[in-house]
Assembly symmetry: C2
Homo-oligomer: 504 residues x 2
C-alpha cells in the first residue's frame, strides 16, 4: 500500500502521481493508465511521475481522484490498459477510416475527461490533417449528440440558426429569434460567448436577461414563449465541443470535419428540424471566397440530410461589421433600436430579415420567396419586439427594457479622420482588437460605434468611430491602438512616415 499525498489541485480529470523510482519498480511510465484501489473504492487514472513531488512509497492524488476514492489515507496502484480510443486516434493519424463504434468511443472518452492533453491534442491535430469523410463526420456528429443532453419537442417544426462567425457586430440572432418565434415557430437558440471576439450572442443577451439554463429549462422556455437565447456553454448539450475547443484554441486550428460536426451536433441535440446557417464571406472572415463558402454550404447540407435536418446556408458579406456597433451594450442598443422601429442601420435590418425570412419559408409559414416580406411585417408591426420581451421575461429579465435604457461606457472618444476622402480599407480584426482593449466583452459597456464604413465619404476632422469604455485607462489604451493600427483607412491618408511611424 502507498501512503496518499493529497494535491488540492482541480485538474478536471483523474490523475495520480508516483515517484519515478516507484514507477520504475512497477514498470510504469508517465502517460500510462493505472487502476487505483483504496478502501471500498477504485478508479482508473492517468499516471504522472515525479522526482520530488511525492516520495518513494507515496501516491499523489489530485482533487478529483482524491474525492472519488473518498479521501483515502492509503491506496494501491496496478497497471491498467490504455483506453481503446487511443488506438483509434492512432488510426486517424495513419489515415485509416474508423467505424461508428470507434468514433463514439473517442467522443465518449473526450466527454468523460479520460484523455490526457497529449492525447486530446493528437486527436485534434490528426483530424485537422486527415479530414474525416462524410460518413465518419455523420458518426462523429451523432456521437457528439448522444454523449450529451438532448431536447425532444412535442411540437414541430423546430427551427434553429447558426453563424459560422468571423464578422464583428453580428447581433442578428437578437432579431431573428423573436421574428421566427412571433411567427409561431419554435426556435431554441443556444449561443456562444466571445473567445477571441468582442461579444458573442450570449454575452449580448446577458444584458437583457440571464442566459444560463439547463437543457430542460431551454425546452420549457421555448415551449412557453416560442424561443430562447441561451448560452450553450452552460448546458450539457454536445459537451465534447467545449473540451475540444480548449485544444483547438491552443493550436489555433479548427479541423474542418470537427467544425461541421460541432455545428450540427448542437442543432441535432436541441431537436432542430430546419436550420439556417449564416456564412459571412470576405476578407478577414473564415471564408475568404464565395467558392469556399459554397463547399462549406454543401457539406453542411449533406450532413444535415444524413441527420434528418434540413439546412439552408446564406452567404452574407463579412468584410464589414454587421450594423455599426461592436461590443455587448452598444450592439444590444442597436438591435433594440431596429426592433423598436426607431431606425438603426440597414445592414443589420436587412440581414436579419433575410435570415428570418429563410426560416419562415423553411418552417412553412410562407411560400418560397415570401420570407423576407413576412419577416419585415413581423418586425414593423412590433410583434418581434413584443416577442423578444416575452423571451426576456421568460428568461428572468425585465421585459420593460428599451433601447434608451441600455447603459454604454461613460468614457468615450472619437477617432477623427485626418483627411477628406472615401473609406478605401476597413479591417474587422483591428476593430475587434480595439473593442477588446476598451474592455469588451467582460466590460459590457465597452465597444466601438463605427461612423464610417467601406466606401463612405468622410470630411477632414469628422469622426471615423467612437470608442466607449467604463474605464478611462482602458479607453486610452484602445484609443492609442486605434491611432496606431488604422482600422479604417481614408483614401489619401498618410499611413506611416519614415523614419518615424506616425500616429495618424
Amino acid at each position: 500500500m502507498l501512503e496518499v499525498h493529497h494535491f488540492d489541485i482541480d485538474i478536471g480529470q483523474n490523475k495520480v502521481m508516483l515517484n519515478q523510482e516507484d514507477a520504475r519498480r512497477m514498470g510504469l511510465n508517465a502517460g500510462d493508465r493505472v487502476r487505483v484501489r483504496a478502501k471500498g473504492a477504485a478508479i482508473t487514472a492517468l499516471l504522472d511521475t515525479t522526482k520530488q513531488m511525492v516520495n518513494v512509497g507515496q501516491l499523489g492524488l489530485f482533487t478529483e481522484a482524491y474525492a472519488e476514492l473518498r479521501s483515502p489515507k492509503e491506496a494501491d496502484v496496478m497497471p491498467a490498459p490504455r483506453p481503446a480510443s487511443l488506438y483509434y486516434i492512432k488510426s486517424i493519424m495513419d489515415g485509416k477510416k474508423l467505424s461508428e463504434e470507434q468514433i463514439r468511443n473517442i467522443v465518449q472518452d473526450i466527454v468523460d475527461n479520460n484523455l490526457s492533453d497529449v492525447e486530446l491534442s493528437a486527436y485534434v491535430t490528426a483530424s485537422y490533417i486527415h479530414n474525416l469523410d462524410a460518413e465518419q463526420t455523420e458518426w462523429l456528429t451523432k456521437a457528439m449528440i448522444a454523449t450529451g443532453d438532448r431536447i425532444h419537442f412535442d411540437t414541430h417544426p423546430v427551427m434553429d440558426k447558426h453563424s459560422i462567425g468571423g464578422v464583428p457586430g453580428n447581433k442578428v440572432s437578437l432579431l431573428v429569434v423573436p421574428i421566427v418565434a412571433a411567427a409561431g415557430l419554435l426556435i431554441p437558440k443556444t449561443s456562444s460567448r466571445a473567445i477571441t471576439g468582442a461579444g458573442g450572442t450570449a454575452d449580448l443577451m446577458e444584458i437583457l436577461a440571464p442566459v444560463e439554463f439547463t437543457a430542460d429549462e431551454i425546452k420549457e422556455i421555448t415551449e412557453s414563449v416560442g424561443g430562447v437565447i441561451a448560452w450553450g456553454g452552460a448546458t450539457n448539450i454536445a459537451p465534447a465541443d467545449d473540451k475540444l475547443i480548449r485544444a483547438e484554441y491552443a493550436l489555433s486550428v479548427d479541423p474542418y470535419s470537427q467544425m461541421l460536426a460541432s455545428i450540427m451536433a448542437k442543432k441535432g441535440a436541441v431537436g432542430a428540424d430546419a436550420v439556417v446557417i449564416d456564412m459571412p464571406v470576405g476578407p478577414g472572415t473564415k471564408l475568404p471566397t464565395t467558392e469556399s463558402g459554397r463547399i462549406l454550404a454543401k457539406d453542411l447540407i449533406d450532413l444535415g440530410q444524413r441527420l434528418g435536418i434540413r439546412v439552408e446556408a446564406a452567404m452574407t458579406f463579412g468584410g464589414s461589421p454587421v450594423g455599426r456597433t461592436v461590443g455587448p451594450a452598444l450592439e444590444i442598443k442597436e438591435a433594440l433600436t431596429v426592433l423598436e422601429n426607431k431606425g438603426g442601420p440597414n445592414s443589420l435590418r436587412e440581414k436579419s430579415l433575410a435570415l428570418a425570412g429563410i426560416l419562415l419559408e423553411m418552417g412553412g409559414i410562407v411560400g418560397r420567396g415570401d420570407g423576407p416580406n413576412a419577416a419585415e411585417q413581423i418586425l414593423t408591426s412590433g410583434k418581434a419586439l413584443a416577442k423578444l420581451k416575452q423571451i426576456i421575461e421568460a428568461q428572468g429579465g425585465d421585459p420593460k427594457v428599451s433601447s434608451d435604457d441600455i447603459q454604454v461606457g461613460q468614457y468615450y472618444e472619437d477617432i477623427l479622420s485626418p483627411t477628406a476622402g472615401y473609406i478605401v480599407a476597413f479591417y474587422n480584426k483591428r476593430i475587434v482588437e480595439i473593442a477588446r482593449l476598451a474592455g469588451a466583452p467582460a466590460d459590457k459597456t465597452a465597444g466601438v460605434i463605427i461612423t464610417k464604413k467601406m466606401g463612405e465619404s468622410v470630411k477632414a476632422g469628422e469622426p471615423l468611430m467612437t470608442i466607449y469604455s467604463s474605464c478611462e485607462w482602458d479607453l486610452q489604451s484602445a484609443v492609442k491602438d486605434a491611432k496606431r493600427s488604422v482600422p479604417i483607412v481614408v483614401e489619401g491618408m498618410l499611413l506611416e512616415r519614415y523614419p518615424r511611424v506616425m500616429e495618424i
Copy 2:
C-alpha cells in the same frame, strides 16, 4: 496587482493560473502566454484558468514560476505573444516545409519547456503524419545537437554504435565497446534505460559501475581508457529527445524523421566520426522486413553524410533474443562469460564480433573484410575483458568483477515443455513481458534464461526457460504469465482447450 497563491507542484515549466473571471476580464484564455511581473523579476508563462482553484484577484503560481519570480506576495499579469514555434508547428500540420531557423526555434522551445503538452503533442503528431524531408531532418538533427552539450575530442577517429532496438537480450554493447577501445579507437557510448523493455544497456552496465556522467566526464573517461558505457539520460546531450519521448510514449508513435534525427543527434553531439547501426529485423521488431531495414539504412547513411558522419548499418536477425538471457544481471553474466572466453552463446558472440569488426574497419584498424577476425582476436586474447575492466574502473566500479560474482534472482522456476518436438514459434514480446513481471529492469536480478530457441528440439519435461526474481511473489506472477501466454511453442503442443483455457 494580484495576490499570489503558491501551488507547490513541480510541473517542469512556467505555468500560472487565473480565475476564469479575471482571465475573461483580461481577454485571456487557457493556453495563452502571459508576462508575469513581480517585484524585481519577470517571466513569460503558460496560462491555465480555473473556476475555483484560485479566487478572483489571485494568481496561482506553480513551483517553477514561483521560484523564478523569487517567491513574490503579489504579481501583475499582461498578455504575451505566443511563441513563434507554434506557427511553425502549424506549418508542419499544413505540410509546409520549414526553414532551418524555424526548426531550430521549435527544438529550442522544446528544450526550454516553453511548449504545453497540447503543443508538444501537435508537433509529434504532425511530424508523425508529415515526415520531414532529408534537408529538414538534417536541420532538425543539427538543432538537437546545438541545443545540448557537445563533446569535442582532440584524437580521432571517434567511433560509436547504436541499436534501433526491438530485440530482447541485446547486450552486445558490453562486448563491442571494449573490443573497439582495446583496438585503440575512442568509443564514447551513451545508452538508454529500458522504457518498455526488460533492460537497456545502461541498466545492464549499472550492475558493474555507475553510469550517470556529464558530457565532460564522458569525454574524460573516454580519453583516459578509450571507451565509456554511460546513461545518455543523465547527460545534457541532445536533450530535446527526452522531452519528445514523453509525448511519443503516450501516443505510442515514433515519427520516422524524428527517430532518424534523435539517433544521429546523439552521435553527432559526442563528436562521432563513424557509426555502426545495429538494425534487428524480423517479426516483433521495429523492422518487420529487410526491405524496411534497407530504407532506414539508406536514410541513416544519407543523414550521416549531411552531418559529416560515416554510417554503416548492419541488419541482424531480431526474431529471437540475442544470446539466451533477458534481464540485467543475467545479461551481464552472459556478456562477461563470453568476454572471459568461458563459453556463452554463439549468437551473442558472433553478433558482437560482426558489429565490432565493422567499427575496426571503419576506424582504419584493419582492411575491409578483416574486421571480424581482428575483433575475435581481441576477444580471444583477453584484451577485450581487460579493457572492460579498465572502463569499469574509470567509471568508478570494481574491476575485479567476474561472471561468477554476478548475483541473479534467488527465486527461480523452470517452465517445462509439456511435449517433445521442435520449437516452432517464439514470441519476443512475451518473453520481455515475463521478465518485466519478474521485476526487470528495476529488480536487476530478475529475468529469463531461454533454454530452447526457435528450431531447437526439446524433450517432454525439459525446461524451455527459467525465470528468476528476487521476489517470490513477482516470480509466481511471471510464471503464471509464462504458462498462460506460451512464448515458446513446441510443435504438437496443445495451446488451448475449450471450453476452458488450458494452462499448458
